[in-house]
């Protein structure tokens, strides 16, 4: 029988490799049978209190228990939204307003915040371990593979985060492609970097599950300290990583890579932002026999829709292709914009029909039959070899450490701050700085505090400029290009 629910993979892993490590971190480790049993317990508790196909917010640190809360939600026939616990409470509330969660699952230290997000907030450590087999069975019978598995929130240009909804079917299709195309062996050991609220984690979690391997949750702090990270990879015998390029670049720059330094590491995959070839070359020199694969894709198409297996040499200044569409995925360039169709597509943004209609559109090349394409907003072209190349954005979305940021969301927060009359921002890619400018009476220090209360840290402007006026275009809009020229001319950007 074909797989219709990701839990089939969990149950296979728990049945065939019950005592193998599934998810671990330095102070905690769970086997596949423990993950199954714990998830069934959580699922039974939730199912007794919520209808199926309802959203559940997860407010926990990245941990094996957090994964059980996510999978427990799936056992209840519901879908999960992991929250970045470090984001401001006001942004969590915006997400809760959009999602209207049936429940919040949290860990003890977030009790105060969790209670503000839903009346049904439950501390995971206090939940019963006993499963209600009949109830879980009933929930499973109702399931179809078009039911949602998760909703992940990304930055929205109007200031309201957008919830990208993804179905079981899309994740199953994606993970099956990934296991085969990336030649993942049974029992592999992932070194996980991506937070669970970031969709790169989808490959980590579901490929580890499908291949009955293990997912080592590398402590976030290790990524600040390349030597510590190297030691972790060595002692944990990590054989596969799927990281954002900035994490790989930090290691490459620290000059801790040398030939033979990571004998177990066989697969290095990356996605989420442009991979600099200089970084790639340093990693390839240290791991000449490893498989390097560049991937591309926005959250809306289930993590990855194009991939390129590094098969030749590149100069440090070359651009790396994003290559070819994944199996069962079609990519069309329409006016240079990368447009995607296939099973990988999200059905839309949760509780946001207008935003959905704007991005998920009828394929204009096939008016005869409904066929939805997702317009990525990314620009692409084919090189001489027929490989797809990523060229940049057509709007004001930027990427920082793999995070999608809509400059509009920062501007919305800026303009809403007390004492700001007009505000705008631009991204200085050369200096890797977000520059914000405003007019009005606001003090910069107060403004910084106000922004911190609304925006996640990775969205905070690096430079805030107070201006008497903001330059305008002929049509009266704020002229960001001219603002940038002024700032450069006056040497305002460090």
């Amino acid at each position: 029988m074909s797989t219709r629910n990701v839990l089939n993979w969990l149950e296979d892993a728990a049945g065939l490799s019950p005592d193998a490590v599934a998810f671990d971190q330095p102070e905690k480790s769970l086997t596949w049978s423990q993950v199954r049993d714990r998830s069934r317990g959580i699922g039974s508790f939730l199912a007794a209190r919520t209808d199926s196909r309802r959203p559940v917010l997860i407010l926990m640190e990245k941990s094996p228990d957090c994964l059980c809360a996510m999978l427990g939600t799936v056992y209840a026939g519901c879908f999960y939204t992991p929250l970045d616990s470090s984001m401001p409470e006001s942004r969590m509330r915006l997400i809760a307003d959009t999602l209207r969660p049936a429940a919040v699952l949290y860990e003890e230290k977030f009790a105060g915040t969790a209670g503000k997000l839903s009346e049904n907030a439950f501390c995971v450590s206090g939940l019963p371990v006993q499963a209600d087999d009949a109830l879980l069975e009933a929930r499973r019978k109702q399931h179809i593979d078009n039911d949602l598995l998760y909703v992940l929130f990304t930055s929205g240009s109007t200031g309201l985060p957008k919830g990208v909804a993804i179905t079981h079917r899309s994740v199953i299709d994606f993970a099956e492609w990934a296991c085969e195309a990336l030649r993942l062996p049974f029992g592999l050991r992932f070194g996980s970097q991506a937070p669970f609220y970031f969709d790169n984690s989808v490959l980590d979690i579901y490929c580890a599950m499908r291949m009955r391997g293990s997912l080592h949750l590398i402590p976030r702090g290790d990524f600040m300290f390349p030597r510590r990270l190297m030691t972790r990879l060595q002692t944990e015998k990590i054989d596969t990583v799927f990281w954002v390029p900035s994490a790989l670049t930090a290691v490459a720059r620290a000059e801790v890579l040398s030939a033979g330094c990571l004998p177990d590491l066989k697969r290095v995959f990356f996605c989420g932002e442009i991979m600099p070839c200089g970084t790639l070359n340093r990693w390839r020199a240290a791991l000449p026999d490893a498989d390097f694969v560049n991937m591309y894709g926005p959250t809306e198409i289930t993590d990855v829709c194009a991939w390129y297996r590094v098969d030749r040499e590149f100069g440090d200044a070359d651009s790396l292709p994003i290559g070819f569409p994944c199996a069962n995925t079609r990519i069309a360039l329409i006016d240079g914009e990368i447009c995607v169709s296939g099973t990988c597509l999200s059905p839309g943004y949760y509780n946001a029909p207008d935003k959905t209609a704007a991005a998920f559109v009828q394929n204009s090349l096939r008016p005869e039959i409904p066929e939805i394409m997702y317009k990525t907003g990314d620009l692409g072209e084919y090189n001489d070899r027929g490989e797809l190349m990523f060229l940049g954005r057509r709007d004001s979305q930027i990427k920082r450490s793999g995070y999608r940021i809509e400059l509009g969301e920062i501007e919305a927060a800026l303009c809403a701050a007390e004492g700001v009359v007009l505000g705008c921002c631009y991204y200085d890619a050369d200096r890797e700085k977000i520059v914000a400018a405003f007019t009005g009476e606001a003090e910069i220090r107060m403004l910084k505090t106000a922004l911190k209360e609304k925006l996640p840290k990775y969205m905070l402007p690096d430079v805030i400029l107070h201006r008497d006026d903001l330059p305008r275009t002929g049509s009266g809009k704020i002229d960001r290009k001219a603002l940038r020229q002024e700032a450069e001319y006056e040497h305002l950007i460090p």
Binding site: S86, R220, M224, A250, A254, K452
Partner: protein
Amino acid sequence: MCKMDDMQRLLAALEEVRDDVDFAGQYGLVDEGVIDSLDLTQIIAALDDAFDIHIPAGEIEPENFNSVQDMLALVRRYQGK
């Protein structure tokens, strides 16, 4: 330059990065998770600027950033180099 000056300069630079942290009285900045990777990147850039030094990537170890004393010792090693 006297000792106090460097410490004051360091604290001023750190305050620019995180004005909500009492750097002078806090130990275990890294180990206790007070500063994260974004902070660390900014702190290194701020130290480089404030003291006109270059801290090489190989020195980016937790024990060099756990307290202002640790950071000051790090800065001193690179001053005048």
